[in-house]
């Protein structure tokens, strides 16, 4: 183990070096915080349109449904179309209601053999087509990452206009917050775009409108 005195010595020496080198130059006035420009007031339908067009732009798919009965039907169709048999689910109650046979509490090896993962998303960002997943709300970190297909359930009421709006709403009690914009991608071989390198190849957002 590192002896505390040894570790403290490195810390003190680095902070001391920072202070000594900064002391050599005059300290100007602190930067005044610039207010973030407010997002234009958007109707809910406008936000939904922008969100879905951005989803398409980044290569994600989406389906809009009204109510849980329709949602359950759509979810089964999406999974069947993807040929998914073993489906990992997050621990969200909505996922349990829509798909009671989903697999939870999987080992790493079991997770790697799943065909799809189903989670909810806490927020959607219209300007970028981004999903926000918070660990404090749901165990969705691995189900959204390891299987080749990720289906995310998102309430249309949880779509915000901009990245800044989402950051302001995030639950920082989460030890892990993940922002997801489209499928996993790489251009490392001759700059040719390939989707589905380490994460999901398919991201399907199932948008739930409130009410019947």
């Amino acid at each position: 183990m590192t002896s505390p005195t040894f570790a403290d010595a490195a810390r003190d020496q680095i902070l001391g070096s920072i202070r000594a080198h900064l002391a050599a130059s005059a300290s100007p006035a602190p930067v005044p915080p610039v207010p973030r420009p407010l997002s234009p007031p958007d109707g809910a339908s406008n936000l939904l349109d922008r969100f879905t067009s951005q989803l398409e732009a980044v290569g994600a798919q989406w389906t809009l449904v009204r109510g849980e009965v329709e949602a359950a039907r759509a979810l089964r169709r999406i999974l069947a179309d993807a040929g998914a048999k073993r489906v990992a689910g997050s621990d969200a109650t909505l996922v349990a209601r829509l798909l009671p046979e989903r697999l939870t509490d999987l080992s790493r090896d079991e997770l790697f053999s799943c065909d799809a993962g189903v989670t909810t998303a806490q927020w959607g960002i219209a300007e970028t087509g981004t999903l926000v997943l918070e660990s404090a709300r749901e165990r969705s970190r691995l189900a959204s990452l390891v299987p080749p297909v990720h289906v995310a359930l998102l309430s249309t009421g949880a779509i915000v206009a901009s990245l800044g709006d989402a950051l302001a709403r995030l639950d920082v009690a989460s030890h892990a917050i993940t922002l997801i914009t489209g499928p996993s991608r790489t251009s490392d071989i001759e700059l040719t775009l390939v989707v589905g390198v380490h994460g999901p190849q398919t991201v399907h957002v199932l948008l739930l409108e409130e009410g019947e």
């Binding site: 130059s25 790697f112 917050i177 490392d188 071989i189 700059l191 390198v197 994460g199």
Partner: protein, 463 residues
């Protein structure tokens, strides 16, 4: 080999220059298109720079705040004065955890400290999981671009490499090659007991580290193994959580020309409950390695505002011709030419500040408005100040004489007339060894002008 010889070798590599031209053009196009989608690009650049300046002027305070908040959330923080100390800290954690398979996501800081070599010395070399990094690790090479590390390799070379190392059927298809890498790396992810990543931003206010990526390998690296080690330069800290917005607008657009990369992981300490997902331990290693020295003056301090987007590489007329390897520096291109001499000492990298035409394209694209040419000139002055002896004496005399002639038009004209009459070639063998010097024209521009050049082509005369 010297920089000049390496650069000449790169210049005669037709395939490399074709790949570089293609990459630079594509990145520049995508960057311009992505920039246009930002609500206020210039405003974002100014704000980002102001945030960086504010942070750097109080770096001690923000680092203390960051480490206190990260520890409160369950992370362990470690301080490393130099590369050897950082490797020692990471190596010791790996040893103590009995790590057998280490997976690693892309991090320039780990390249800077030569972590893989250090860990190989302990018998546990990490597996690079970013596709580009994986390719060059298999090939035994080093990255040639900050954002696209394997940009210098062709599909054919990668196909041959994978056929040899992974035992797959040779394929010319990028998707098939990518799928083969995914399969090979999935096995390693399934058994990995330690993950190592870099850090793009560290938020003082919350103790959060943020990692950007496109492939998902950084998410796997930071969520599957029991232990996660994140290495960050001390300049990565920013004050507030809300500051992330402006940096997330700038970094992907400048780096890959994307509005946003596929994934951002915002990690604050470790899981709160044993049933939660994610590592049990998060170790954050804070690396100085020459950075605190750069705080001493505004001209050098601005180098620490860099967010490692790579935009300056793609527009640099030198990088676009020679690529990353010829620089002989972990950080290539214009940003490498100012970072490396400051990190490892000007005496060990005196050639780098000269690997530039000072055209300023890097300054124009920099998302945090680093005046790279100003830093290059400052470092050239340092390089010369270090040099003692007669060469410096004669160089100073020669430049003084040159300045005297250039400041006096009549004297200049007379000197040039004599030089032309004598077919004089200046004694610049060292300079012309790597450059072309055009012979003097038979008549000077002024002589041509007086002989009627101006009257023939007067651009101001009415048609």
């Amino acid at each position: 080999m010297t920089f000049e010889a390496d650069a000449r070798a790169a210049l005669s590599d037709v395939q490399l220059r074709g790949a570089l031209r293609q990459a630079a053009t594509l990145f520049a196009e995508k960057r311009r298109a992505a920039m246009a989608t930002a609500p206020d690009w210039e405003g974002a650049r100014d704000r980002a720079r102001a945030i960086k300046d504010e942070t750097l002027l109080h770096l001690d305070r923000y680092l203390e705040q960051f480490t206190a908040n990260a520890e409160r959330a369950g992370a362990r923080t470690h301080w490393a004065r130099d590369d050897a100390e950082a490797c020692e800290i990471i190596g010791r954690i790996a040893d103590q955890r009995g790590a057998r398979t280490i997976v690693k996501s892309k991090s320039m800081a780990t390249e800077e400290i030569h972590l893989n070599t250090a860990l190989a010395g302990r018998g546990i070399e990490p597996i690079e999981t970013d596709l580009g990094e994986y390719i060059i690790q298999l090939a035994g090479e080093t990255p040639s671009h900050i954002v696209a590390p394997a940009i210098h390799k062709t599909r054919g070379q990668i196909a041959a490499l994978f056929a040899e190392k992974l035992g797959i059927a040779p394929s010319d298809d990028a998707a098939a090659l990518t799928a083969a890498a995914r399969q090979a790396l999935r096995r390693r992810f399934a058994e990995a007991d330690l993950g190592i990543s870099g850090v793009n931003f560290a938020v003082a206010e919350t103790g959060t580290i943020l990692i950007l990526e496109n492939e998902g390998n950084a998410r796997l690296t930071t969520s599957l193994p029991h232990t996660h080690i994140a290495l960050m330069g001390i300049e990565k800290v920013i004050p507030r959580f809300a500051d992330l917005e402006v940096f997330l607008q700038l970094l992907p657009r400048s780096g890959t020309g994307q509005v946003l990369t596929a994934y951002q992981s915002l990690l604050t300490g470790v899981k709160r409950h044993p049933d939660d997902e994610g590592p049990d331990e998060l170790h954050i290693v804070l690396l100085d390695n020459g950075r605190s020295r750069m705080l001493r003056a505004p001209v050098t301090r601005q180098s620490l505002a860099c967010i490692r987007c790579g935009a300056c590489l793609n527009v640099c007329p030198v990088y676009r011709q020679i690529g990353g390897h010829a620089y002989g520096s972990v950080y290539p291109g214009p940003i490498g030419a100012i970072l490396t001499p400051q990190l490892i000492g000007i005496e060990r990298a005196a050639h780098l500040p000269y690997a530039s035409s000072l055209c300023g394209a890097c300054r124009d694209v920099c998302p945090v408005k680093i005046d790279i040419p100003a830093v290059l000139l400052h470092l050239r002055a340092e390089a010369i100040a270090q040099r003692a002896g007669t060469s410096r004496f004669f160089e100073r005399r020669a430049f003084r004489a040159y300045a005297a002639v250039m400041a006096r038009p009549r004297l200049y004209e007379w000197v040039m007339r004599v030089a032309r009459a004598l077919h004089f070639t200046p004694p610049l063998r060292a300079w012309t060894k790597w450059r072309d010097l055009r012979p003097l024209a038979p008549r000077s521009f002024r002589e041509e002008w007086r002989a009627g050049l101006g009257r023939e082509t007067d651009p101001w005369s009415p048609l």
